[in-house]
Symmetry: C2
Subunit: 667 residues, 2 copies
């Protein structure tokens, strides 16, 4: 076949690469790649600034496939524009164990995939985060005569993304912040899994986004009108004061004679007959996985173009470095994730003579101290800044006209907050995102936290008000199961410090861990500063806070606000001749990473009488207390009442610890 | 003081009751009650159909305080209109342990509180659920000449509620469904905890809601213009084809000279001086907790009016019963939550000769069977109906012009879906709400699930695709920690059935449990029908599925899709002379509720060698396997690949169970 219309041929190549891979895998979503191939092609061929030879080029445009089920669209584009992965062989291994082409795009598997997507709406909010990171870095480092940070963020969403609440949260913020370099392509195909979107989604999307402060453009013939797609993208790029949503009306599964325009091609392979019929309908004479050589040449031009773009940018950066050497040095430190020298030397430390304090307050002190060292500390709270103590006092608010500032006002939007922080982290420009809410509302953002862990995004989650000690706000605001539920998430570090030293220690390890998120679990109420706590011990997850005199009769294990109760109980038990070793165990995951020798030194097997004390669920404690142990836990919903009463009524008192310890010893 | 303006006096009574209670508690949120007192008063005094003498009157209007932190507004209104609780003494006990006036309204504590609120946005979605329940019941039971179900649902929201994504999801659905009897008062006071809403919330709310299909009305002088509030409410009531949002512009903390209009009165008591100054500013000469007798008489008129309204309705119901005795009998059965006779007798049962099947498919069969018995089965999926198998084939879609139908198309809106189902359950009209998504996306709706449990709402959560056996969709879609994380939620029943009989058994107990939510954990993949499973055994949570011949050497414990592997392993072990008892443990919480004798019979202490097998986190299994036990668990994120490969690579094979069992025996 000779290629007359290279654009159309390229688009059909994307369509068939996608459909062929899905057919071979006997699993996947052909509808989106076939329908969105024209917009994907126009964006990647004519608009996107990227360098296939270096997926990590810092000033590349970012592209997020929020509708991650359409992964074959992205894999086809990466392959055809000349990225090393996925190869054609990789594409033939679509959705197979260990392949470079998983069912949904994973940033940890394929260079060129910016963020991991699949759970709908997450990618949209990630894109908002990427766009925030770009504006922030630009404001920090650009000069009137140098724009070294000036890329766009593109995102492709489907109906599902726009139905999810997280996308409305993120869109409202994006409009508020006037993120002019954020451009979202909406694959408006009127079909979701259940059928036509008129089953449940008949709102006026254009009106909603305009109300949220967006420019909305429309492409009526999105299956064929490439010029209109390109024009809309250029209009969007030229609009600098607000984000743009481009509604591209498409036909899902375009080209499949029987299935196009139906939910039948959303989430299942076309089937051999329909795929053959599609080839016929689109006059496509190439075989499975065949890429016409003209298309390959045409699309791979992106490699040379991209190399040139990066070279030009490098030259710009050199000139910038010559004129602004200090800024350039800082910028380079940023993008290499290098820690500033001495950053951890000035973390606050405490002695028992220091006043009792809430760990949330100590967290605020640490954040403010860290901000002196890290220009890139960037975050805030979901409208609980005074409660979460997250304001950096030396800095202003990150707003439309002050992108250089670091205090991010997320509003009451926990889910988008988490996903935006994922985008900031995965911008990989040295920014350290943090975000905060009450621990109980970690539930509102749980999938975003999971996505941090899965995509290795080093977000700091600051969860305060961490037990029934929250008090009067009652059971809706009192976490019970939340610490345990966070410990369940793979690759999430969870740290519940016991006092000021442990707070500093928690930050020391969390900030240094850039490829893994950390959840800091902090109190509302004041806690005493303990003897024996230390900044560095936290990195081990657990340590002996109070050794027994001679052989220990038992071990008391506490975390966070219960550690000081354990210490007090141990002292009283000692007066009665019972020797209890007290272990502070702020982080199970960090402790598990220690050597078995170290773990044995903290929790010696010989001491089987163990009592754990934690104001939360008993789940998982069996690992540490063993068969002969016991746990003072809280497995029921709380009650409204003063916090100290709530704690007492749940058994978090020195007296109860002593009593339970004695029962244990007498068993 | 003589009362000249009784309306104003009543409003100020609400303001000061609220501020006084918060002052006494030294904790709470005075800003909302003081600012929203006028709209609260107009609604409750002039509009709301309710009967303070019978908070459970079935056809009452429902009122939801979505901004639950303003609880003192609701408590004041309940008290002043003559509800038995809260008494003045109860109000003086605001936020104290064991009081009837917790920090946030709890439906399980005070009659007249329809739903538990506090986590922002939940109440908005609950209200949508209540409004759906009303329309559905009306469509099922009303006749051209009888409207026995015809109440309104009112909701009061703040800025925070409208920032949360859940409210946008719910609002989009409410607009789509044209819920004309849903009226939301928006306390538009421009202040949230962080400060002015222009920090993060500058969208055009009116435009957004209009785009979502709502009527939006505006009251400019919401602090004083009672006539405008009343007129807007009446306009809203008269609009039958779409829900209404009434933007009421108010001053937070109205009357407090220094703090009104600032975030300073959002979440803290006014303080004695400011409270005194407020009394002066509003010319309020009454003491703390003093209710002017004229105000009491005026407000308590609601009692007599309400009794009359209920009497009139009872007469209507009598006339309806006379003319439509069968419908009336069914209606009365509905509202008394009575189970239809024989409903559980026709649940599907299976023998090992029956074909392997996915438990999600068997769940679909049960739902369809139950629908023959329960007219009030009402629910659906978040756009995964074909995957979750939730469609009731004999019924149509619940839509704007077909409210009588039972299949609810939630769209991709998991969080609102859960909260809407809470509203349907707490309508307490005998409807049995169910909702479904992939198990991994339980994370999107986690707070709604928690609120079901806390508010004792008997929602059925149908979570399918329950392990890495999901396969090709990869780690974003493969649950790992989710079963464990659901088991953590107090008062949530979690059941993971092993085959068709256990699916029927799971529904049998879940449907009969109307004051507690149940999460059903179901497979995507086919499972064999096992010998020894039974419908009734599930109610005990766990049971011996395969007894050992003679004394057991060990116990194999499985749940769901791993049970058949345990059985097969036990059979092979028996060939080698190793006697393994196999326990199917579909529900930990149901098992824990059994007698210790029963539990001992299933898991005899004498058999310490125990191997649990579950395709999910190991957390919590220590309770059942003990110190000498082991767990074949999956604690890491999954990978994209065929489901059977994913399971094999994680050790879910008969061979691995045998190998681990032998290791255990040789330890």
């Amino acid at each position: 076949m000779s290629i007359k219309d290279i654009d159309l041929a390229a688009i059909n190549t994307i369509r068939f690469l996608s459909a062929d891979a899905i057919e071979k895998a006997n699993s996947g979503h052909p509808g989106l790649p076939m329908g969105a191939a024209p917009m994907g092609y126009v964006l990647w061929n004519k608009i996107l600034n990227h360098n296939p030879g270096n997926p990590d080029w810092q000033n590349r445009d970012r592209f997020v496939l929020s509708a991650g089920h359409g992964s074959m669209l992205l894999y086809s584009l990466l392959h055809l524009t000349g990225y090393e992965t996925p190869s054609l062989e990789d594409i033939k291994q679509f959705r197979q164990w260990g392949s470079k082409t998983p069912g949904h795009p994973e940033n940890t598997v394929i260079p060129g995939v910016e963020v991991t997507t699949g759970p709908l709406g997450q990618g949209f909010a990630n894109a908002v985060g990427l766009a925030c990171a770009e504006r922030h870095m630009a404001a920090l480092f650009n000069k009137p005569d140098f724009s070294i940070v000036d890329h766009y963020t593109y995102c492709l969403v489907g109906d599902g993304c726009l139905m999810e609440g997280i996308s409305n949260e993120a869109a409202s913020l994006a409009g508020h912040l006037g993120l002019g370099r954020l451009i979202v392509l909406y694959d408006d195909n009127k079909i979701s899994i259940d059928g036509a979107t008129d089953l449940s989604f008949t709102e006026n999307v254009t009106g909603r986004f305009e109300a949220l402060g967006w420019q909305v453009l429309e492409v009526n013939a999105g299956d064929t009108d490439l010029a209109a797609i390109e024009a809309a993208l250029n209009t969007a790029k030229a609009t600098t004061d607000k984000p743009t949503l481009i509604r591209v009306h498409t036909t899902i599964g375009y080209g499949a004679p029987k299935k196009q325009g139906t939910s039948g091609c959303h989430g299942s392979p076309l089937g051999a007959d329909e795929l053959a019929a599609t080839r016929k309908a689109l006059n496509w004479t190439f075989g499975p996985f065949e890429v016409p050589s003209e298309v390959r040449v045409h699309m791979e031009q992106a490699k040379a173009d991209g190399a040139q773009k990066e070279n030009d940018w490098n030259a710009l950066l050199d000139a910038y470095s010559a004129k602004y050497p200090e800024d350039a040095a800082l910028y380079k430190r940023h993008i290499s994730d290098e820690m500033p020298p001495g950053w951890a030397d000035t973390l606050p430390t405490y002695t028992p003579d220091d006043k009792p304090a809430a760990t949330r307050g100590q967290s605020g002190l640490v954040l403010n101290e860290l901000a002196r060292h890290f220009k890139g500390l960037f975050g805030g709270s979901a409208d609980l800044a005074p409660s979460n103590q997250t304001l950096i006092k030396s800095r202003g608010d990150f707003q439309k006209n002050s992108y250089e500032n670091q205090n991010f006002r997320f509003g009451v939007r926990e889910h988008a907050m988490g996903a935006i922080c994922n985008g900031i982290a995965l911008h990989r420009s040295g920014l350290i995102p943090y975000c905060a809410t009450f621990l109980v509302f970690a539930d509102y953002m749980r999938n975003a936290v999971r996505m941090s862990a899965l995509s290795e995004a080093g977000v700091l989650y600051i969860f305060t008000h961490d037990s029934v000690a929250v008090g009067e706000d009652g059971p809706t605001h009192q976490p019970v199961e939340h610490v345990a539920s966070l410990r369940l998430i793979p690759n999430l570090s969870v740290i519940r410090p016991a006092d000021g030293n442990e707070v500093s220690g928690a930050y020391k390890i969390a900030v240094a861990t850039r490829n893994r998120p950390t959840a800091l679990i902090l109190t509302r109420q004041n806690l005493p500063q303990l003897a024996g706590t230390s900044v560095d011990a936290v990195a081990k997850g657990g340590y002996v806070l109070r050794a027994a005199e001679g052989a220990a009769d038992m071990i008391l294990i506490g975390t966070g606000s219960e550690v000081h109760l354990c210490v007090a109980a141990a002292e009283k038990l000692a007066e009665e001749g019972i020797q209890a070793q007290v272990v502070s165990l702020p982080s199970w995951d960090l402790f598990e990473a220690q050597s078995s020798e170290y773990k044995e030194s903290v929790l010696p097997k010989a001491v089987a009488k163990r009592l754990a004390v934690e104001a939360g669920s008993h789940f998982g404690w069996g690992r540490y207390v063993g068969a002969e142990g016991d746990v003072i836990s809280n497995d029921e919903f709380g009650h409204s009442g003063p916090g100290d009463i709530c704690m007492q009524n749940r058994g978090y008192t020195v007296e109860n610890i002593i009593s339970r310890a004695k029962s244990l010893l007498n068993k």
